[in-house]
């Protein structure tokens, strides 16, 4: 029984619980053991939820939100730029050596376009919501 956790102890316990859950899930998938997968998911998720309820101080605040937003924006930029670069390389390789690479190139380009469209959708939504 864990009562009255502080935030740093919570993060440590959460990492241990998530790591153990990941390990058991991996094992379950490797052995194709559905009972182990479901048990790991249920026990892992419920222990994380239980731990979270024991925390007496805020875990997230506006600074965490800003950090999260900046990380998401950086991840978006990095992913789109790297994917476009990889698509260009695959396109070149597809035209010069193996035509199979063309499929990779089109696939990556399609994913980037889809993400840009989803981003545009949310951009319009938030612009309207915040009165831009």
């Amino acid at each position: 029984m864990v009562v009255g956790l502080d935030a740093s102890t919570y993060w440590k316990y959460q990492m241990i619980a998530t790591g153990a859950m990941g390990l058991l899930l991996g094992l379950g998938f490797q052995q194709d053991n559905k009972i182990l997968i479901v048990t790991a998911l249920v026990i892992g998720a419920s222990s994380v939820l239980y731990l979270r309820r024991q925390v007496e101080e805020p875990l997230y605040d506006e600074r965490s939100a800003v950090v999260s937003m900046k990380a998401s924006a950086a991840a978006f930029s990095a992913f789109t730029l790297l994917s476009l670069a990889a698509a260009a390389v695959f396109f070149y390789l597809g035209n010069t050596s193996n035509p199979e690479y063309l499929q990779w190139s089109y696939g990556l380009a399609f994913i980037v376009c889809a993400i840009m469209i989803i981003r545009l959708f949310f951009w319009i939504y938030y612009t309207r919501r915040y009165g831009g």
């Binding site: 935030a7 101080e57 805020p58 875990l59 997230y60 605040d61 506006e62 600074r63 965490s64 800003v66």
Partner: protein, 63 residues
């Protein structure tokens, strides 16, 4: 933006932990504000000022 949060905290003899709990943020946020690494939102700045019963501009100085 310059902040005098540390000075006000020392004057009232309260810890970062106590201030964080009083205004509902994490201790890391108080540390970041005091170091000048993070500019609080207007709402949080008001909460801090209200906690010390002073005006926002007494704690946060825009340069």
């Amino acid at each position: 933006m310059e902040t005098k949060l540390k000075v006000f905290r020392a004057m009232r003899d309260i810890t970062q932990e106590e201030l964080a709990q009083a205004i509902g943020v994490t201790r890391q946020t108080i540390i970041s504000i005091e170091r000048g690494n993070y500019n609080p939102s207007l709402e949080l700045a008001f909460k801090i000022a209200r906690h010390f019963e002073v005006k926002i501009e007494d704690i946060f100085i825009y340069r």
